[in-house]
């Protein structure tokens, strides 16, 4: 049955309120069960042996001494995970990343794993696995990797997207180009041009919960996996494909998830845990250490970006161009391509050209990180936009307003926009009190804009009505930040009942149809659509039951505000029947009442934000402090405003950390120097001020309630907003993120001659 997702302008009873979240009590009492909080009878402990080399051929692995350790039950290497990927390059990259095959591609790459009765035995065994490495030259820097004399990581990589295909292998895996118009002609029309190169360093999603799972393979071909993940259906498919299991016989249960931000969107160690369990014929628990999380999971790209923008004196941009190089770890990705697509998305441009170059390096396999690739591109572009505004002598906000995209604009990545929020967020910034507040000594103010696509995708939801009239909704998108509350609000709204009468749960892969994962800000957008659809289907059933209870024709029963009503006066002014009334009779009117929905939630609405921040720089040390921060973002419709604010604040805080502190630091030997929270410093409570938020609501025309998705865009503007603020504070254009004290001090010294 097709579902009409068109936006209907209506007033809400539940949506937009701020009730208590359903999982709150579990989480404040320590009862919520995360990845590492689950155990099985007879469970073994797994540990992973990781390469100490950035790039090395694995000549031989001898596990015989380790096998002799008392308590060791299984050891696996790549030989235990045969290549079943059938030419699927993406899947092969996941497999090779889980367990190195011919070569270790980065410091921390898994080469073997042990399952033993306890940690002590497992650790002892790891020390006795003999790996014979032939150490190879390595490269970790994005620019160095593109030089002609750089060590080539993979002889099979010939740059794609270049005509003719190169005859020599290189570390540039792919070239992607976007844009329209004639940039050369556009630059000729420009009165002023800004051209500059920028760099950003690699950061980690920094979720507080390390990857953790419990795997259990049975000899009959069935298997279970308990795991912290952003998408248990995707993990099921990944694991089934890599281990040759039947998807339906692998039951994956998603634990509560202690943060993901994109880092838990594909498998890391889960196939290894399953392989160990299969070999040992016992359940296996595998929990990564923090060091392993940093060395072997997650990170986003390091980048090097060249931007050129030209404008007339009146502030009209005539042409814009960018070349973006993104590291993807040792395997080809599409991170530069995303950067190239998003870079100029905020603007209405006559001529624009962006080129994304995907660069493989000896660093961990890049994973999505909240609006992946967009923050770095926005940093470069929004810095150049700011610089150009200064040169022209225009206010930075006015300059952006003059060039902002709007409904009907052909976006820099291709499609024409529908109704969008970039203009309104800029107008809101212009009039925001923060914009006109006085600045103190050594302080600078910056602002910047950001864009993210937002996704939809495959979604399946069940809505069951109990005999007492209360409602369970079972959804398949993992709740990473409060979506059970927002989905309960949606169900309450559609059914016309109280939020307190609804319980939302995340179903496992065996009890619900396939769902895409919680990524691309799709969780609430997609699942709310499926929940609305399921509720409407349940209402249809309840109308039928009411007709039976009243013994009147179905067409004479209509649904309004949580009740079945008998139409007109011909049925004797019957009192309306509530959900509870109808549910109580369900056993005698046809059995349980439920509504199901399987749909593809396409038509996600693009999202824009504008951020303002004030930074104070200590001229003696180069250290800096965020003194005020404001986020303005279009939500489409804020279902639970508290958690929308939370997404805005959290994304901003991650962006602040990225801009000021966080970076992967590699030694000459290609080893990661700072794989811990002490040396990889994410923002702590005393680093930040309160983060003000302003929610705008420009309805998404492709969702019944206008919902757009809010999770990611908030991390896009901070890098640029902070760089602009620091640049304004110190009087030097800051073009290398993070703006750590040494970099700021160098800039200050440069400014003071």
């Amino acid at each position: 049955m097709s579902f009409d997702a068109t936006y209907q302008n209506k007033s809400f009873n539940s949506v937009g309120t701020r009730p208590l979240r359903p999982d709150g009590v579990d989480k404040v009492t320590g009862r919520a069960r995360y990845g590492a909080d689950f155990n099985m009878p007879g469970q073994l402990v797994a540990r992973v042996l990781r390469s100490p080399h950035a790039h090395a051929r694995i000549k031989n692995i001898d596990t015989s001494r380790a096998e002799a350790v008392k308590g060791v039950k299984a050891i696996v290497t790549a030989a235990d995970l045969p290549d079943l990927t059938d030419g699927d390059a993406g899947l092969f990259a996941i497999l090779d990343n889980c367990m190195a095959r011919e070569k270790a591609m980065y410091d921390g790459h898994a080469v073997a794993a042990v399952a033993a009765i306890d940690q002590k035995a497992a650790k002892a065994a790891l020390n006795l696995i003999d790996v014979d490495y032939e150490v190879l030259p390595h490269v970790v820097d994005v620019d160095a990797a593109t030089l002609p004399d750089a060590p080539v990581l993979n002889e099979k990589i010939f740059t794609q997207g270049v005509e003719p295909t190169p005859t020599m292998p290189s570390n540039v895996a792919n070239r992607a180009e976007f844009g329209h118009g004639d940039v050369d002609a556009g630059f000729e029309q420009a009165d002023l041009i800004v051209e500059r190169s920028y760099k950003t360093e690699q950061t980690h999603q920094g979720y507080i919960e390390p990857h953790a799972c419990v795997a259990n393979c049975n000899p009959d071909g069935t298997a279970e996996l308990w795991v912290c993940t952003q998408g248990h259906f995707v993990y099921r498919q990944n694991c089934a494909d890599l281990l040759g299991l039947e998807a339906s016989k692998l039951r994956v249960t998603s634990s509560e998830i202690g943060g993901g931000f994109g880092g838990k969107t594909h498998v890391w160690a889960e196939p290894v845990a399953l392989a160990l369990s299969r070999k040992a014929n016992r359940p296996v628990k595998l929990v990564m250490s923090r060091e392993e999380v940093f060395r072997a999971s997650g990170p986003t790209s390091a980048t090097s970006i060249d931007v050129k923008i030209g404008a007339k004196k009146d502030g009209t941009i005539t042409a814009a161009e960018a070349t973006l190089r993104y590291t993807s770890g040792p395997y080809a990705g599409m991170w530069a391509e995303l950067g190239a697509m998003t870079s100029f998305a905020c603007y209405d441009l006559e001529s624009v050209k962006t080129v994304g170059l995907e660069v493989v390096v000896n660093r961990p396999k890049v994973a999505a990180y909240r609006a992946p690739s967009a923050p770095m591109a926005a940093f470069a572009v929004e810095s150049a936009i700011d610089e150009l505004a200064h040169k022209i002598g225009m206010d930075a906000v006015d300059f952006r307003i003059k060039n902002a995209a709007s409904e009907g604009t052909k976006s820099s990545y291709g499609p024409v926009y529908g109704p969008i929020g970039i203009g309104p967020t800029l107008e809101a910034a212009k009039t925001h009190p923060h914009m006109s507040a006085p600045l103190g000594e050594n302080q600078g103010r910056g602002m910047a804009c950001g864009f993210w696509f937002n996704f939809g995708g495959q979604t399946c939801t069940d809505l069951n009505i109990s005999a007492d009239g209360t409602v369970t909704i079972a959804v398949g998108t993992v709740d990473v930040g409060g979506s059970r509350a927002s989905l309960s609000l949606i169900a309450a709204e559609e059914l016309g009942i109280s939020y307190d009468d609804i319980k939302a749960v995340i179903a496992d892969t065996s009890t619900l149809g396939y769902n895409d994962m919680t990524d691309g800000s799709r969780g609430t957008f997609s699942t709310s659509m499926a929940t609305i659809s399921a509720a409407r289907n349940a209402i249809e059933v309840m109308r039928q039951r009411a007709a039976l209870m009243w013994d009147i024709p179905l067409e004479d029963v209509y649904w309004e505000e949580g009740h079945a009503h008998a139409a007109g006066t011909k049925h004797g002014n019957r009192a309306p029947l509530s959900v509870k009334d109808i549910a109580a009779e369900a056993g005698n009117t046809g059995g349980p009442i439920a509504g199901h929905s399987e749909l593809v939630a396409d038509g996600a609405g693009v999202s824009f934000a504008t951020h303002i921040c004030d930074i104070e720089v200590d001229p003696e040390t180069g250290s800096s402090r965020v003194v005020r921060y404001t986020v303005i973002q279009d939500a489409g419709k804020a279902v639970h405003p508290s958690y929308v604010e939370g997404q805005y604040q959290g994304g901003a805080a991650q962006g602040i950390g990225w801009a000021l502190n966080e970076e992967y630091i590699y030694g000459e030997d290609g080893r990661l120097q700072n794989p811990g929270f002490l040396d990889y410093r994410i923002p702590v409570c005393s680093d930040l001020p309160m983060i003000d938020t302003q929610i705008l609501e420009i309805p998404n025309p492709n969702h019944p309630y206008g919902v757009r998705g809010v999770g990611e865009t908030s991390i896009v503007p901070p890098l640029a907003a902070i760089a602009n603020a620091v640049s304004n504070a110190v009087g030097v254009r800051m073009a290398h993120i993070p703006l750590s004290p040494p970099r700021i001090l160098a800039a200050l010294n440069e400014a003071n001659g």
Binding site: D26, I208, Q649
Partner: protein, 160 residues
């Protein structure tokens, strides 16, 4: 290595356990006593997700040996509520949406409890510095600070 017998008090209960000499209090709580509310985010004392209170002081239980619990009084998240009645901090964290994923929440609550016992009327700056040993990656800390402020006010009897 032979095990060590330890007698201690956890959440007002007398508790006895055996542990290895190199076993952390966090591992004892989680693996031997079934108290899994304390989380391991780093194992190096940097994230605070395993914060508990030992003789009135906030500690990272990953940096305390199980054997050190001998004769001490330990409070964990499992003992924060009074039966079905949540502690004001627990209620305010939920009311203010001060958690998203929630993995850091038990540690924050224990650290905040110790703060309010030491200083019932902390300034925003005092709250921020006291909680600087607890990492949260989801919230940006804004709503956490507000929840602690509001709980403190209620505990001082300043709100209804």
């Amino acid at each position: 290595m032979s095990s060590i017998a330890v007698s201690t008090t956890i959440n007002d209960d007398d508790v006895e356990f055996l542990c290895q000499p190199d076993e952390t209090l966090l591992d004892v709580l989680r693996n031997r006593l079934g108290l899994m509310g304390a989380k391991e985010g780093c194992g190096t004392g940097d994230c605070g997700a395993c914060s508990t209170i030992m003789d009135g002081r906030v500690v990272c239980s990953c940096l305390v040996l199980g054997a050190e619990a001998q004769g001490k009084t330990i409070e964990t998240i499992e003992g924060l509520a009074n039966g079905a009645e949540l502690h004001p901090l627990q209620r305010k964290f939920i009311e203010h949406a001060a958690l998203q994923c929630g993995i850091c929440t038990p540690g924050f609550l224990m650290a905040a409890k110790a703060l309010l016992e030491a200083n019932p009327d902390p300034t925003e700056t005092e709250i921020r510095f006291w909680l600087a040993g607890n990492l949260c990656r989801c919230t940006g800390y804004d709503k956490i600070v507000r929840a602690v402020q509001d709980a403190a006010a209620e505990m001082r009897g300043e709100t209804a």
